[in-house]
């Protein structure tokens, strides 16, 4: 179980488990590699942002409670002024959403809540949380 948690957090890879490397477990190794492959694109919060689907509607920028905490503009539905305040997670750049920093994300900082507001409200399904 602890190894599974480390896999999901991205601190370990499937190939780090010696029993999995035995020939009799090759099929299981391939399955676990397939499951954990998308996590390589995820940030430590598990957030995967598909830029091709994003159209810059800025709902994630406004709905994110952490963004609103660090930027007063986000409270009233606007984007943050430059330079970006420290702590901002999402911001629009050239029409697409970018992840600017995860240090203050509620999924990252203790007590690591299962906040999924950005994923729930994105109308284009461009944000996916893998864990």
């Amino acid at each position: 179980m602890p190894f599974a948690v480390e896999l999901l957090k991205g601190t370990k890879q499937p190939d780090d488990c010696p029993p999995l490397l035995e020939p009799k477990n090759m099929q299981n190794l391939e399955k676990i590699r397939a499951i954990t492959e998308p996590l390589k694109q995820a940030t430590e919060t598990g957030i995967v942002l598909n830029e091709e689907l994003c159209d810059g509607c800025s709902i994630c920028v406004i709905a994110c409670p952490v963004n609103s905490r660090f930027s007063q503009e986000c409270l009233s539905g606007k984007g943050p002024d430059l330079p970006l305040p420290k702590g901002i997670i999402y911001a629009l750049e050239n029409g697409k959403c970018k992840i600017k920093g995860i240090e203050e994300c509620r999924r990252y900082t203790p007590p690591k809540t299962n906040c999924r507001i950005c994923e729930i409200y994105c109308p284009r399904y461009a944000i996916e949380i893998k864990t």
């Binding site: 810059g56 709905a63 409270l75 009233s76 606007k78 430059l82 750049e93």
Partner: protein, 407 residues
């Protein structure tokens, strides 16, 4: 060379006129855009793009502004009748110059979506309209209804500002704001709505009737509208955004009383709680054009741009002002070859500028030149251009004023 950042620039991508845009400028062009949606960003990034018309053209060949204006004036003076097409993609100042020119030349105005504007204006004159500013929607609205409107495609940042913002009296944001979408297809806006009403647009009138009778206590609510009726009965502030699903010619011709009935419903709900209606249009300054036309004391013949091919003939001339009429009305492309000269005032390369006899490229409003524009809620905003006007370029207002002097 590092980018020079400029905050609080106003975007002219759509009728939202977002004024929270920041741009990174280098060597007189915009290299990066922040806080703008894809649609707005594309417009800002035009400055570093080959799609811009760099210099005035006569017959596709580069020339000076003086020669191009002289040729345009000659065409306008010798035309039997003149049609000026467009006007919704310009600042209020340029629109006033456009009206002045139209009056002097006795020109008709072919306006995009004019049919809809005229019907809406007629319904408003008869029934009144209850309006909110966007600020009131953000601070007060606890029920936001999009009817025939798909802001995720039309005005991408509207949904975030209206339904997700944490206003003064709605500080929990979306947790206390209900989102309702009524449409005839499963739009992206409907994906995340709390109440989704997916019906054929022919059933919109039925929904209205059902709301009327339920809210006035005559009948119990029907299943299709019960959630919406409950939401309307329990809200404090409601905003209806109506879009092209209702504000289109086909629908309104088939249901001529719909707008009157809709505004009367809003009026009746306003007896008990605050309700407002905001129309959503595609063009970034359609509201400004309608306002200026309403305020002018002049009589100008206006018609819908869709009717242009049937209203133009030999000996006439067309002035396409910030509008790609060739893409919109294919007939006018043919007329250009049949001896109806086309003058285009546009900063970007389009099928219209490709076939126009004279092209007069203005500086880009809101990016290279300033002025004012009217947002979808009727508020007039000052544009803060992040770039200086390029040397040798004129604003669209200057071009129209010069044509006024030369004709």
């Amino acid at each position: 060379m590092p980018l020079e950042n400029k905050n609080r620039v106003t975007c002219t991508g759509c009728s939202m006129l977002c004024d929270d845009i920041a741009v990174g400028v280098q060597l007189g062009t915009v290299q990066a855009v922040y806080n703008a949606c894809l649609r707005g960003s594309k417009k800002f990034l035009l400055t570093s793009n080959s799609q811009l018309v760099k210099a005035p053209l006569i017959g596709g060949r580069g020339t000076s502004f003086d020669d191009a204006l002289a040729e345009a004036a000659r065409i306008l003076k010798s035309a039997k009748r003149i049609v000026i097409a467009g006007g919704t993609h310009a600042t209020n100042d340029a629109i006033r110059a456009l009206i002045k020119l139209a009056v002097k030349l006795g020109a008709k105005l072919a306006i995009p979506e004019f049919d809809i504007h005229a019907r809406l204006t007629g319904a408003v004159k008869k029934n009144g309209i209850d309006f909110f500013t966007l600020g009131e929607v953000i601070n007060n609205a606890d029920l936001v209804v999009f009817w025939g409107a798909n802001p995720v495609d039309l005005a991408p940042k509207l949904l975030g500002r209206a339904a997700f913002s944490r206003g003064r009296y709605r500080q929990s944001g979306k947790e206390v704001k209900k989102l309702v979408v009524i449409d005839d297809f499963p739009s992206p806006t409907m994906e995340r709505a709390d109440i989704k009403i997916l019906v054929d647009d022919q059933d919109y009138a039925g929904i209205l009737e059902s709301l009327f009778s339920t809210l006035s206590g005559q009948n119990a609510s029907e299943p299709a509208t019960s959630d919406l009726t409950n939401a309307l009965e329990n809200c404090e502030y409601c905003t209806f955004f109506v879009g092209e699903g209702i504000l289109n010619k086909q629908f309104l011709r088939g249901h001529p009383a719909f707008l009157d009935n809709f505004l009367r419903l809003v009026r009746s709900i306003n007896d008990k709680r605050r309700v407002a209606v905001l129309p959503l249009f595609y063009s970034w300054n359609a509201a400004g054009l309608m306002h200026e036309l309403a305020c002018t004391g002049e009589k100008i013949d206006c018609f819908d741009i869709e009717d242009l091919p049937s209203r133009i003939g030999n000996g006439d001339a067309i002035l396409a002002f910030g509008f790609d009429i060739v893409s919109r009305c294919a007939g006018s492309a043919a007329s250009s070859k049949d001896g109806v000269p086309l003058i285009a005032v546009d900063f970007k390369r389009t099928p219209t500028t490709d076939v126009a006899r004279v092209v007069l490229p203005p500086s880009i409003p809101g990016i290279e030149s300033g002025g004012t524009a009217t947002r979808l809620d009727g508020i007039t905003l000052l544009l803060h251009p992040p770039l200086q006007q390029p040397d040798g370029k004129k604003t669209d207002e200057d071009i129209l004023n010069e044509l006024h002097e030369r004709t």
